[in-house]
């Protein structure tokens, strides 16, 4: 019997990453990467209790050795599972500050977690995605999570926007190189506040004014299920009430 496919989600906190993991766990085994085990442990337990298959690996995506270890572990634990989807969704690098107050660490941190992290993650994911072309139920998919700052460098966002612009450049370049090889590379632009535990207390003047993590996850799943005749590269998602 063919092995179940695999999905790797980097950046799994209590928000979008968790929703994506739950969504992809309906069909695939899922691997959850986060620096802090506390971020994935309850989710691993939840998915496994519900009949899915999940593991978590403590990983710092901005450290190439940590990413290497994680993928070595994945290949050891799932030697026969085709990698159907690899999703890059870490939250790091967000900082809003007057430019002259940014530290070298602030700026490097945004590039490390968004750009370099995505680079290491993509370099490890792509060989596995290419190998899965025949066996994955849907075209093997690599999705990067962007933000408003992916296309607009606002005042006081020099660091975060640099990281997110760089991530988008990477995604475009990979879509153009690996699309013709059958890999679906996508980039999303999450333009608004996501409705997660951390933002629960932010009261907005309209109801439904925050992005639903489950709906974002549905979008990722939709992207994943597109056939290779009809790949979307970029998708912007925002609440109906958002100014843009």
């Amino acid at each position: 019997m063919a092995s179940k496919g695999l999905a790797i989600i980097a950046g799994v906190g209590p928000g979008t990453g968790a929703s994506i993991a739950r969504r992809f766990a309906k069909l695939y085994s899922v691997v959850l990467l986060s620096r802090t085990p506390g971020n994935f442990e309850p989710l691993v337990q939840e998915i496994n209790s519900n009949g899915g298959k999940a593991i978590g690996i403590s990983t710092d995506v901005s450290d190439p050795n940590s990413v290497k270890s994680a993928f070595d572990e994945i290949e050891k634990q799932f030697p026969d599972s085709p990698l159907a989807a690899s999703i890059f969704n870490p939250a790091g690098g967000f900082v809003k500050k007057p430019f002259l107050e940014l530290t070298n660490e602030d700026y490097a941190g945004a590039l490390d977690s968004q750009a370099k992290g995505a680079f290491y993650f993509a370099q490890r994911s792509l060989p596995l995605l290419l190998k899965a072309k025949e066996s994955s139920p849907h075209p093997p998919t690599l999705i990067f999570t962007g933000a408003t700052a992916s296309i607009k460098g606002s005042a006081q966002f020099a660091a975060f926007a640099s990281g997110k612009f760089a991530l988008r450049a990477l995604a475009q370049s990979l879509a153009r190189e690996f699309g013709p090889q059958g890999i679906h590379v996508s980039h999303t632009i999450i333009d608004g506040i996501i409705d997660i535990p951390r933002t629960k207390q932010w009261v907005l003047p309209h109801e439904d004014a925050k992005l639903s993590p489950d709906s974002i996850a549905d979008s990722y799943w939709y992207l994943h299920t597109q056939p290779r005749t009809t790949f979307a590269f970029e998708l912007d998602l925002r609440p109906y009430i958002e100014k843009w």
Copy 2:
């Protein structure tokens, strides 16, 4: 009992429009608009035979009186059906020519069918979409079909690109005005050759190198089903092998 929802599709030939009609007919009554009855008649019959409900109305979207007549007819035939989705998908205005060979009619034709047509169609659709907010199963949706020429004015495409840029401007403006009123306005960028009867004989060097109309239709359906917390405005669709 509540009336079934309604979807209106403007621009129904044997390609994308037909696929969209079939897809939306699974849940809604569908109204097909095309200048030529021959374009919608077989489809109307097909949908009605398969247990769906479809009518066709011969309409020239670039003529405001014709659009008015069509919507008057729709309201007469479906007085109690909430308008769940209105889709603007006409093919007109495509012309590729050295600029100095374009006629005034070529240029006006592209603006008439893409920009003015969309304007008339949107002005008639939006009051019905607004009225359907409580009764539509998904947020009432207005989708416009764009093309590569929506974001790039290539040489020899002055007329078509003018029409498609204008259409995108209209779509953006409506998304910003009617999004906060709960209407989901979207714009797609179809970047490649669509696999329709007219392009069947075009042999491309790779298989699956043409966009699938059914998959495009799935994308429109996906956009329609998004909740208002998580609206996508723009979606670019292309075959995996497409250069962009």
Copy 3:
């Protein structure tokens, strides 16, 4: 002796058009096109009194016959003057209204004055610009004036943005077709309030918060003087204090 070069400016009111005319009149004979003779008469007199050469022709750029007459008149009056620069700068089509209050005339008006007007103007200008390649002191230049609405379809700007997006599509297409033939086609994005008589009474919280028409004219002149090794296509201009 070689004839002095020629510059045609379409859209000459008391603002940017007048400044452009004065700037180009330092080196060229200038032809000023405006629907209302009152718009160009004082300027024609001023330029001629100052040792320049100017004529005005009452022209409705949205009417192809009127544009034809104007160019016939230009060729009659300046049979030996190479057309060095042709600048499309009409103000028409601006309208801000809730979408459902826009009339068919509002929408058509924006397309007529911005898109169709530019089309007619470019079709008449380009053959003359091509003929001037050897004799123009700088590469023959065709510049289109855009606005914020050229790249953003804001709420209530459906008509104006449609016209300005279409104009930008036209400009891009012409740059790609005629650049390789040695014609410099450019598009500017004027992003802010211009300091003209009509806006004098608008008091803004900061000084220098409005665009200077003379500085805009300097930018057009700078674009015109670029050599063909180093053409700029697009230039965005805004006051230092502008939010964008």
Copy 4:
């Protein structure tokens, strides 16, 4: 007597940087930063022999301590000169390779020289530019040199495009934060091959098919001389024959 203004150019090889230095040396004292003294020494001599004032400082812009030393040296040597212009133009980080062949060093190198280098350079330049607001003959100016890869992530350009996208994000963010404080921040998109010693032997099918470094320098000078009523942020420059 007021001190002559100062311009700092980071990235001075035999191409664009040298042309910019010569152009700005007509009005200002110039400081040339390059890792390799051989890059600036002949130019320093040339400018000083021609009646200008130039110094070179060996600087690695990707090293914050090296940038700090350079600016300390500048302030020591020119304690009374207002910083009129600071230009970031380093060539580093260019690499074209299949993605899976990129090394961690390739990717980090592009971010280091383009993004981090620009960050360190901007953090040191901006306090001096702000201080020069009253004394600089033109609004103090900070210009960043971009490339095609600043707006398009092409296949095999993942590293370079990441660096250039990040640089553009930084430039946008600074324009929005420091424009209202009177500093002119600009970004150029150099889209084509520059005519420099290294590219001399590349024979192209058309004459004038390479960008002229002197004309690029003229563009930078033009940007610098714009008044604060009329700042351009972005300028794309390409040879007339370039495909885009």
